[in-house]
């Protein structure tokens, strides 16, 4: 089935079989390997991308369902070399260690400050409920989201 979707501003038109997962479209068809898969029961969040402005799990969606959608992945955040404020905040606050959950974590973090411009710590932590990190214990990630929110506030 032919589908058309825009990823990080670039449009793709591709014939795919219905069972192809969106994450496999991103990784294998579009070659954007920044989005990672960490489980099979949609509970780890490493595969989070933005679809039409909403943070969704790209491992729990078939590419055909995304036909006509506007997708942003971690590779689409920086523009011409300048990092997105959330990327910069993760870097400054040591919000990552092994980096495997980081792309999904950053996309979920951006959704938090989209919906809560100056989030409380509780709002940040509940916004990250769907994203597992095994290395950081989340504390520096919370600091990063706070810093990004404060930075965006300037």
């Amino acid at each position: 089935m032919n589908i058309n979707l825009t990823i990080n501003g670039k449009s793709y038109s591709q014939d795919v079989e219905p069972r192809l997962l969106l994450i496999h479209f991103l990784r294998d068809v579009a070659g954007l390997t920044g989005t990672h898969m960490g489980c099979e029961t949609s509970l780890c969040g490493a595969c989070t991308v933005e679809l039409d402005g909403k943070a969704i799990k790209s491992c729990t969606m078939f590419a055909v369902q995304a036909n006509g959608a506007e997708i942003v992945t971690v590779e689409g955040l920086a523009n011409d070399g300048k990092l997105d404020p959330m990327q910069e905040a993760f870097w400054n606050e040591h919000g990552l260690q092994c980096g495997f959950c980081t792309p999904g974590m950053i996309m979920a973090a951006k959704q938090i400050i989209d919906r809560h411009p100056s989030p409380t710590e509780d709002e940040i932590r509940h916004g990250l409920e769907g994203n597992v990190c095994r290395c950081t214990g989340y504390q520096h990630i919370v600091n990063a989201v706070k810093a990004a929110a404060a930075g965006a506030g300037k």
């Binding site: 997962l21 949609s42 943070a55 729990t60 969606m61 769907g130």
Partner: protein, 284 residues
């Protein structure tokens, strides 16, 4: 992590969808329950009809003194709906407790209700709201009450080929206090138990109470014995405790790794008392 092959159709109209469903295709909405089962090959549907393609199934509006919610309204749309926050806060509070941000962005009320997972959150609220479900088949449309809709684990009143088109809930004005209290299963986020309460008071006495329970048994149910025990009472802590103690009466509680049947029953009583107390505290 790879599903079996299947056919996919994004229908242009509800009729086209219903036609396909009547010949054996299965509905796909948010996919939050179905797709993980397909990836594990626990579910192997041959043909999926994507109801999210039908934009006209996604609405939240007030009409005829009631609130109408289209089947493909997402949990987030419900959670963040100004109309519902004002006129059906129980539903928005329940929606906000489902899964996580990503699941709430995609999961739909129609999908969740039709899937009827014994530990899903919505059924408790919809039972307490005495919601009506509009079921549409290729030929006819009928309305079923929440009590009749939830039959057993993953079993509802839906007939093959029928879809849930709309959920109708009453308007709760400020005189009705509502609350949803849930004991969260720490791994999957499902409800070990979930209790939804709606309460009104008149001259210091409870004039109206509805209690919906999920997670305890195979399907959500109204705790009518507990409701009767509280009606007409001043709702002292003792009254609330006595009523809450009846929410598990005659119910065969399930047990699993995360909670034995006894503990689940205990949790149902605790969360019922808490839901009633909070609901009363929210009565304007």
């Amino acid at each position: 992590m790879i599903a079996q092959k299947f056919e996919y159709t994004a229908p242009k109209s509800l009729d086209e969808a219903l036609h396909l469903l009547s010949s054996g295709a299965k509905p796909l909405a948010g996919g939050m329950s179905l797709i993980p089962m397909m990836k594990l090959r626990l579910a192997v549907p041959e043909h999926l009809v994507d109801l999210r393609a039908l934009k006209d199934l996604n609405y939240i509006r007030e009409a005829g003194g009631q609130l109408h919610i289209g089947a493909t309204a997402s949990h987030y749309e419900i959670e963040s709906s100004a109309l519902l926050r004002q006129k059906c806060p129980l539903l928005t509070e329940t929606a906000a407790s489902i899964g996580d941000v990503q699941v709430r962005n995609m999961g739909t009320i129609g999908g969740s209700v039709a899937h009827a997972d014994p530990a899903a959150d919505y059924p408790a609220a919809l039972a307490a709201l005495e919601a009506k479900f509009v079921l549409k088949g290729a030929k006819a449309e009928r309305t079923v009450s929440a009590a009749d809709f939830f039959v057993d684990a993953f079993s509802t009143a839906l007939q093959p080929g029928e879809i849930l088109r709309e959920v109708i809930v009453p308007i709760d004005d400020a005189r009705t206090g509502t609350s949803y209290k849930k004991m969260v299963q720490p791994a999957s986020g499902f409800a070990i138990v979930g209790v939804a309460a709606r309460v009104r008071q008149n001259a210091g006495k409870v004039s109206f109470v509805r209690l919906g329970i999920t997670g305890l048994s195979n399907h959500a149910y109204r705790a009518t014995a507990a409701e009767k025990a509280l009606e007409g009472k001043p709702a002292t802590p003792n009254d609330i405790q006595n009523a809450a103690a009846l929410v598990t009466q005659g119910v065969d509680a399930n047990s699993d790794l995360h909670a034995s049947a006894d503990y689940r029953r205990h949790l149902a009583v605790v969360h019922a008392a808490r839901a009633i107390g909070t609901a009363i505290s929210r009565i304007a």
